[in-house]
């Protein structure tokens, strides 16, 4: 009996060892999806459009009524420094559309990834491409009233944040709205402002893609940093931003407003 139980333990142990080995064994032919979740927050508060009220570092109150941004040129880097790119995939994150907050990357090779990078905006190559290349979220006809394209200065609005603030000096229309529209890809026929920002985020716990594991990378975007990520923005002074040059400080700020909070590696 004693011998038998030893045998059992040994058997169990070997099963554990075998299964562990199997898990660590990365088969490069295995592929799975990776989900990038964009969790837009205001500081330590949940962002509810039009409702959540917060203050920036200048003690100016604000709400957010609209928040949209393009995510493109996503890349994942694994432990060996190899980079997997996802070219020609463009996503429009809209806070008002919960589905758009989850970006799905298909056919990611198995591996342990410890860095993710992406661009906020639409790269210059796509920004000058033929209209036949502008489909899906890049279709200028797809935005309705919530436009993400400048027709007078051909180019996409990369990042758009609108809301209210009592800091805005009262005007004739009694409006208290701020609007930050940031775009500018660098120009086609002449050099213009370039507000394309690539964001590179390390992942403390790796995203472990396996045949049966499709990780979810939880990205937190703190919109309060749009006001002070690098440059201090006073809403009282800056509340209408509708051109590439006016958008530079805001672009520099939101480039510093994202972090990877954690990664889920649950089995499918």
């Amino acid at each position: 009996m004693k011998n038998f139980s030893y045998l059992l333990i040994a058997l169990f142990a070997s099963i554990i060892v075998v299964s562990c080995q199997k898990e660590d064994d990365i088969n490069p032919n295995d592929k799975n999806t990776v989900i990038l979740e964009f969790d837009n927050r205001v500081g330590d508060q949940k962002l509810v459009l039009g409702t959540t009220t917060a203050k920036n570092s200048l003690n100016e109150d604000f709400t957010v009524t609209r928040l949209n941004y393009f995510v493109s040129n996503i890349a994942l880097k694994n432990e060996n420094g190899e980079v997997v790119k996802f070219p020609n995939q463009y996503f429009l994150v809209r806070q008002s559309d919960p589905n758009s907050l989850l970006i799905k990357l298909d056919n990611v090779p198995a591996g342990n990834y410890n860095e993710v990078s992406y661009m906020i905006g639409v790269d210059s190559l796509k920004s000058v491409s033929d209209v036949s290349q502008r489909t899906g979220v890049l279709d200028p006809a797809s935005y309705g009233d919530d436009f993400m394209y400048w027709s007078w200065n051909s180019g996409y609005i990369f990042f758009k944040m609108e809301g209210k603030s009592s800091a805005i000096p009262p005007n004739m229309m009694n409006m208290t709205e701020y609007a930050f529209h940031v775009g500018g890809f660098g120009g086609m026929t002449g050099k213009t402002i370039n507000n394309l920002r690539t964001i590179t985020l390390p992942m403390a716990n790796t995203a472990q893609v396996r045949r049966d594991v499709s990780p979810q990378i939880h990205v937190i975007h703190d919109v309060s940093k749009v006001f002070n990520g690098v440059n201090q923005i006073s809403i009282a002074k800056t509340y209408m931003v509708h051109s590439p040059d006016a958008g530079i400080p805001i672009g520099q700020n939101y480039a510093k407003s994202f972090i990877v909070d954690h990664v889920h590696n649950e089995k499918d």
């Binding site: 000058v128 033929d130 209209v131 036949s132 502008r134 489909t135 279709d139 200028p140 006809a141 797809s142 935005y143 309705g144 009233d145 436009f147 394209y149 027709s151 007078w152 200065n153 051909s154 120009g187 086609m188 026929t189 002449g190 050099k191 213009t192 402002i193 051109s243 590439p244 040059d245």
Partner: protein, 338 residues
């Protein structure tokens, strides 16, 4: 059914007959430079051009159905807005710029007075979505068209299926605009040594003055070097800094595109804000009205005083020459109207 087939048979044999030449939709005039537009991305077809023309004249492209492209771009004025210094759009709202002629579009590398649009296929979105022009959303326009059988049929004819997409819509408008080539003025016949191409002595003297004093900016057969320059206009609207709005470069402040002078006698008023109602007023500006500023074009600073020296007699000759750039065939071609 049988008669239908016979009819088709007849039509086919007719089409195959070698005597009928296919209609040329676009041709580079012999005295013109190479086109900038990439036709390989949007080959012109008779049906595509026809669709574009119908769209061009359709008020459905505007929010309330009242303003078509042709409203501010009318053929007898070389497809500009005659009699309005600033373009009048929807609800009688007034824009900040004078509408530009639509002609020889295949040869432009940028569009609008500030060159903010670099592709003809993206050009049409701007007036459609401008709140003081047509004030509509591109998506709504496509929805309106999709509901009309007239359009699904026209798109089917032009593209082989009824689908109405952004690309098809914009490229059809481009196709029509690309056919608007003006290159048969008296001047053209003169330079191409064609029948009837005889300029009077006054016109010839005007041409000589033009070459000497105007052609460094209004250069070549397009009569523009396609650059942006500050021609010394007193600033009426500080906000409209022209090319600077696009490039954000201070040295581009108050620079506007050098316009083509083709059909210039028909495209009054003049300048980006339509401040001059006659060619006399324009020439008077160049002789007496040029204002010095940081970004004033160097070519207007050749003399002690800024501007261009011209006598009254020279001005009259210049205007006589400029009138030879009027292309009656273009202005009256029934093909361009509905």
């Amino acid at each position: 059914m049988v008669s239908g087939l016979i009819y088709l048979g007849v039509a086919c044999s007719k089409d195959d007959s070698p005597e009928i030449e296919p209609e040329v939709l676009f041709r580079v005039p012999p005295n013109f430079p190479k086109p900038v537009y990439d036709f390989s991305k949007n080959p012109l077809t008779k049906e595509g051009v026809e669709l574009g023309k119908i769209l061009f004249f359709d008020g459905n492209l505007s929010r309330d159905g009242t303003i078509s492209c042709a409203e501010c771009h009318s053929q007898p004025s070389a497809f500009t807005h005659h009699g309005h210094d600033l373009s009048h759009g929807i609800d009688n709202k007034i824009g900040i710029r004078n509408s530009m002629p639509i002609q020889n579009m295949a040869f432009q590398k940028e569009f609008f007075w500030d060159g903010g649009v670099f592709d003809l296929d993206l050009f049409s979105i701007a007036p459609i979505e401008n709140p003081v022009e047509m004030d509509e959303k591109l998506g709504n326009v496509l929805e309106k068209l999709r509901k009309q059988e007239k359009y699904t049929t026209l798109f089917q004819k032009a593209y082989g299926s009824k689908e109405i997409t952004t690309e098809r819509f914009l490229k059809a408008l481009s196709q029509f605009m690309l056919t608007l080539v003006s290159a048969n003025s008296l001047y053209d016949k003169y330079v191409r040594k064609e029948a009837g191409g005889i300029l009077s002595s006054e016109e010839l003297e005007g041409l000589a003055i033009f070459k000497q004093k105007c052609a460094s900016c209004h250069s070549g057969e397009l009569f523009t070097d396609l650059s942006y320059r500050n021609n010394g206009l007193p600033v009426y609207n500080k906000e409209d800094t022209g090319r600077q709005r696009i490039t954000a470069i201070q040295t581009d402040s108050y620079k506007f595109k050098v316009p083509s002078l083709r059909n210039v006698a028909m495209t009054a008023p003049y300048m980006h804000d339509g401040r001059f109602y006659s060619l006399d007023a324009v020439l008077n500006h160049y002789t007496d009205g040029v204002i010095e500023s940081k970004t004033l074009d160097g070519l207007l600073m050749n003399n002690e005083t800024p501007g261009i020296a011209l006598t009254k007699d020279e001005k009259a000759k210049l205007i006589a020459f400029l009138k030879t750039l009027t292309d009656e065939e273009f202005l009256k071609n029934k093909k361009f109207g509905i």
